[in-house]
């Protein structure tokens, strides 16, 4: 299903966390290329840097900064999404990138408990909107409903997350990730909190989306799940060690 054009390219990404006096290098010059329409599974031990890689690629976090240095290996690396250098984007550009170019799915669903299923799914469509775009709110609502219908949640639109099963919550989270039509789905252990049967249903949804051409980057520690992907990337100690 993948084409040979990379949609997402990370070059020598480094990320270090500072916890008081302790410095923890999480990513060490990790590079990865994801082709358009490709399904890539990132595997590795806990604490190996999988989620950090996902956060950097999704624009939730920035690589290390070293002022005055411009080469990727000197300034903590670069990320390119299509022709856009994500690492050079300002705050507003990153917000737009997160809202429209990528969609996140988390292990613990992270739905807002006060909102209904439909409102949760519409959330990315509501952020960063101009007043003029609000005239088009009905279109966003219709799209969110279509996605929820497709994932079997048409009868749950007005329910709150605490009234849903784990699988339903994760399907709502996937609908939320897709409502703005992103080109890349970033999934951080999407089945990690589900039983095998429900996890299988979620993987089936992801497989369908991949079949429709969506680029997927999925973090997992389960090799059987990883085997469903087009390609598996192994990360250890902050470095990509095998593809």
């Amino acid at each position: 299903m993948s084409s040979s054009t990379p949609i997402l390219v990370a070059n020598r990404l480094s990320k270090t966390y500072h916890m008081g006096r302790v410095t923890v290098p999480v990513l060490r010059e990790a590079s990865i290329e994801v082709e358009r329409g490709e399904w890539v599974a990132v595997v590795g031990l806990s604490g190996s840097g999988k989620s950090t890689l996902l956060h950097l690629l999704g624009g939730l976090d920035r690589p290390d900064r070293q002022p005055g240095r411009t080469a990727p290996n000197q300034r903590g690396g670069t990320i390119h999404f299509e022709s856009t250098c994500v690492t050079d984007l300002g705050a507003a550009g990153l917000n737009r990138y997160r809202a429209h170019s990528v969609g996140f799915v988390f292990q613990f669903y992270h739905l807002l408990p006060e909102l209904t299923v439909l409102e949760n799914a519409m959330l990315p469509a509501m952020t960063g909107r101009t007043p003029l775009a609000w005239l088009n709110a009905d279109a966003s609502r219709a799209k969110a409903k279509r996605l929820l219908d497709r994932f079997g949640l048409g009868h749950r639109l007005k329910h709150r997350p605490n009234e849903l099963s784990g699988g339903e919550r994760q399907r709502t989270a996937i609908a939320r990730a897709l409502v703005n039509g992103p080109k890349v789905l970033l999934a951080d252990e999407p089945t990690g909190n589900l039983d095998a049967k429900t996890g299988g249903e979620i993987l089936e949804v992801i497989r369908e989306l991949h079949g429709e051409g969506l680029t997927i980057l999925m973090v997992t520690h389960d090799s059987s799940i990883a085997s469903m992907a087009d390609r598996v990337v192994r990360i250890a100690d902050g470095r990509i060690v095998a593809e």
Binding site: T52, H55, G58, L60, D61, A91, A92, N95, R96, R98, A99, H100, F104, F106, H110, L111, L112, P113, E114, L115, E119, L123, P124, M126, T127, G128, R129, W134, A137, R176, N180
Partner: protein, 551 residues
Amino acid sequence: MYQILLVIRFLTTRIMPIIAVLAVALCVTLVIVVVSVMTGFLDMLRDSGKRLVGDVIVHMPVVGFPYYRELIADIEALDEAEAATPVIENYGLLQMPYGPGGAGTTEQVQVWAIEPESLAKVLDYHRLIYWKAPTESEAAVLAQDDPRLDPGYDRWPAAMAMQRGGSEKPGAILGIEISPFNHRERDGSYRTHDHSRSAQDRAHWMPQYEVRLTVVPNSSTGAADKEVRAQLDIVNEFQTGVFQIDSHRIFIPLGFGQELFGMDEAPRYSLNEVGPDGSPKRIGSVPSRVTTILVKGAPGVSPEDLRNAVKAAFLRFESLKADDPEAARMPRGVEILTWEERMRDLIGPVEKERGLMQILFSLVYIVCAGLVLAIFWSIVHEKTRDIGVLRSVGASRSGILAIFLAYGLSVGVVGSVVGFGLASLIIHYINEIHTAIGQPAPLLLWASVFVLCGGAVIGAILSILRDSALFTLLWSVIAIILAGVAVLLMLHKGVLIWDPSVYYFSRIPNHVDMTNALSTMGFAVLFSVIGAAVPAARAADTDPVRSLRYE
């Protein structure tokens, strides 16, 4: 727009913002109730003050000024003025008809010599006079044992004539608080009786006795003469509602007062020439004088405009008299003041008290901001992960900031509106509430609270059996509070907080001061937003990655 959705949902689905709204509402209620009652009290005082002196006062203490009839005619000819009346204001000693050994106790009083007919055109004289037959509508609201319902207590004609029928002596009208036998009831009415009794006792009713008034007359130059005594019939009593006046002022007839104070018309003698009988030659007369003219303004004329018009009229009048070689000299230093300027010493302290109360109660806003800050800090802490989720779907820092600022604004607005509603309700029914507090709690009420307390005890026992520490604690606390309330209600015999015999207003002011209410609401909203600002900024600064990892 997602901010509005989230604010509405945060407000309606969580207990914490409801607590914040309640905190703001109670703060707003407290300030509005206290300041409205204080403002009402001040307004009542102003109203009483205005009723006592009219709109404008022309005043020259002690020596007074002559030609007051002409001056009154000039003032009444002004478009701005409706009526004017002459008064002599001075001091004296009043020997009361009671006292040890029948000698009579002596009171220091302010003497107002008045003309009832013209005074009634400037002030509501009828309203001031206490012992008169009530109208039908007044009678309907009086207590059944109110002595004024008995025609035998009606002394209105004597108050107008300032003389008791068939008596040669001039009459005096005493402030109703001068006699210690006049006892003010909770409804504001009076009963006359000895301290050992509580029922009306005619023997201690003043308008049947005489008093002796001792004054020191003054010449037109202000020189004090030998004291003068006079015996007067008490013909009535008056009530202004202001204790300082009701306990220290008496009215006497103007003509008699002029004689008493040496301010009546007197012959004028030459210092150089002698008459046929060898005594100094009479060359004319010194006109009678008064110390004060009270002026009532025409409808729609402000006291300030009236004062300016009266000042101009007085200057013209003074100039004319100065040009007349036959006229007596007008004194220098005649004051022309509005009623508010004249009553400044009475109203000023109450205004300052209200200002002080407003400042003290403004501290409540800081408490309000502190409460909102603490609650919002906790909310932001609790919503850390959701903030990360919002950032992950494209929300900006300013968007997150806006959520919590709008949240604080909503808490402030809703709290203010609820507080205003609660305060309006309390103020509207403040007299009924006060009356209820002043009476013993009904048996049914405290018995019901005991029953509820029993229910809470059962709840606590069931919670123990279900092994729930939280509900055991909650039910136990509720049971203890209810038991305390029930016991207090049972022992409650009535508390009088607003004692009319102290405040001299029979009802607690029950009008919401809208200016104060709106400013209170505005400040509550402002301080709620200020309280929410710090947690909101903290939320905006929250690192989305750390937020998503937050458990």
